[in-house]
Subunit: 315 residues, 2 copies
């Protein structure tokens, strides 16, 4: 390891020297140590790679760092886990300057504080492109929310709104971000729905976070649960001004909402006889038709798959 | 995520479908779940990047996969942790073929089995170069081995032998691997010293795994412990035939043994009054001269820093 890497590690260590009663040993040894957790340990890893998941033109490096952190933590939200710690492996191109690394680290540290998930370890490596690989560790104290518990008749819900992050990304790609700053913000600075996940722990039969796009993520639930789903296009929760701006950009608002991805909202199912339904909006129902995910128009007629219409864009 | 990535994940999931009583939920949901561990949880992440940490000319992809796994697990050995699970994030260049990915995964699966650390999660991402980022999770049931407990007068030990992995890498770089197949094997297929780490848990005052080179890693212990060290060049454990082959390659055997790195042996210190000393060879003593790491020749005279003589090669 080159000398300047040790110096960089020393600086990063200082930035991440945060106290947590769960951490008995943080950055700086061969491994970090957490005190024993009483619940189940939830583990997930997520990578953000330059020019694959982000472009530096689309956000400052601190924003990219915090975004990568939120995206990783979102998987804990979808399990009803409480974040406990994170490890960050960075791939650093040779030309990355120290001040740029500091900016990135600042954003990661903001994420760690926001979700109370101290960075307890990491790795720096030279690489051709900038990448941030985040491992998150959480604790499930009650019931874990898996993808596999949806049953026919369950109602399908989603927290927040759909499509806004994807619209924000389109605005960034088109270089017209000023036309919809709030949508750009939804892409740049998503919120992992930790509190919603915990609230759903005893209630939901299945859950997933919306990262690949609502329709794709619903398909993951259907596959894991061996069921099908029907959703109503008219029921999708959309932000004010979303449809108008999407159309003005030449985009199909519905396709974008269903396939856009990166909303990091929670998509979940609730048994038909449940008295509560959590913080989300009902968008449809689970069916017995295994693997079949159908979108119904306002008249209740299955629509031609809007997902595929969107693919050429998402690809 | 492109469709073929889902297919790849499905194939990988099948390969890693291993049973472990500690794993309540493996690959395929938002996060994996481990049952509560009674001891402290040890966490570490390590990256292997093509043309930084390995070249495909130097080993088959399965060998590279298993090697990356061992390198990551080695950090758990150095903490006296028992491996419990691993997560694998892969950066995959567009031109990587499915059969090549399968080969890589085969090696990672071999590592998971070898150390009883099932792969419970992961991430696939497109990238410019092949990279394997491995997060390992272990449990420390007794006392953790940190870097910070060395005290003046403690004796310094190292398991196994030093320099052989670095010599093997030199043979590979020079394209003459047939001249020392056993040394090449030491680079290609290192062993994480889990059993040695556990045996040292109650005995050693400090420990680290030899990844950056013995002298550099000893310096890490000295810095964390605020002490110095003296090691005897003549006491370094070397493999039979090592010096001759190193010299025949135009290398300084001593510099290579001290700075070569990637041995993945354990370097540890034991209090002077301890009755046992673990599985290693004594190579020197901890001193009061904070931060000063000195190598003595056979006459007990400090040698000109052999590390720096080696740097131009290692860089």
């Amino acid at each position: 390891m080159p000398d300047d890497e040790f110096q960089r590690i020393a600086r990063i260590k200082q930035r991440f020297a945060s106290a947590s009663q769960d951490v008995s040993l943080g950055i700086g040894d061969d491994a970090a140590l957490l005190r024993a957790l009483h619940g189940q340990i939830a583990l997930s890893v997520d990578a953000s790679v330059e020019n694959v998941h982000f472009c530096r033109d689309f956000a400052r490096l601190d924003v990219i760092g915090e975004r990568a952190f939120s995206a990783a933590i979102s998987d804990l939200a979808a399990m009803a886990a409480v974040p406990k710690a994170a490890l960050i492996a960075l791939g650093l191109p040779r030309e990355l300057q120290d001040y740029e690394l500091d900016e990135l680290i600042l954003g990661i540290a903001r994420g760690a504080e926001r979700y109370a998930a101290p960075v307890v370890g990491g790795n720096l490596s030279q690489a051709s492109e900038l990448s941030i690989t985040t491992t998150v560790v959480g604790e499930v104290q009650g019931r874990a929310l898996t993808r596999s518990g949806a049953r026919p008749g369950d109602r399908i819900f989603v927290t927040g709104t759909l499509g806004s992050a994807a619209l924000g990304l389109c605005l960034l790609k088109a270089g017209v971000s000023a036309r919809g700053p709030s949508f750009v913000e939804r892409w740049q600075n998503p919120s992992a729905r930790i509190q919603a996940g915990l609230a759903l722990s005893e209630l939901a039969s299945a859950a997933i976070d919306v990262s690949d796009g609502a329709l794709q993520d619903l398909t993951h639930i259907c596959e894991a649960s061996a069921v099908g789903a029907e959703i109503r296009a008219s029921a999708l929760p959309l932000d004010p001004g979303y449809c108008e701006l999407a159309r003005a950009m030449g985009l199909d608002p519905l396709a974008l909402a269903l396939a856009g991805g990166e909303d990091y909202e929670l998509l979940y199912t609730v048994p038909a006889n449940a008295k509560a339904c959590g913080p989300g909006t009902c968008i449809g129902e689970i069916t017995e038709r295994t693997g079949e995910v159908v979108v119904l128009d306002a008249a209740g007629t299955p629509m031609a798959a809007p997902l595929h219409g969107y693919r050429h864009f998402a690809g």
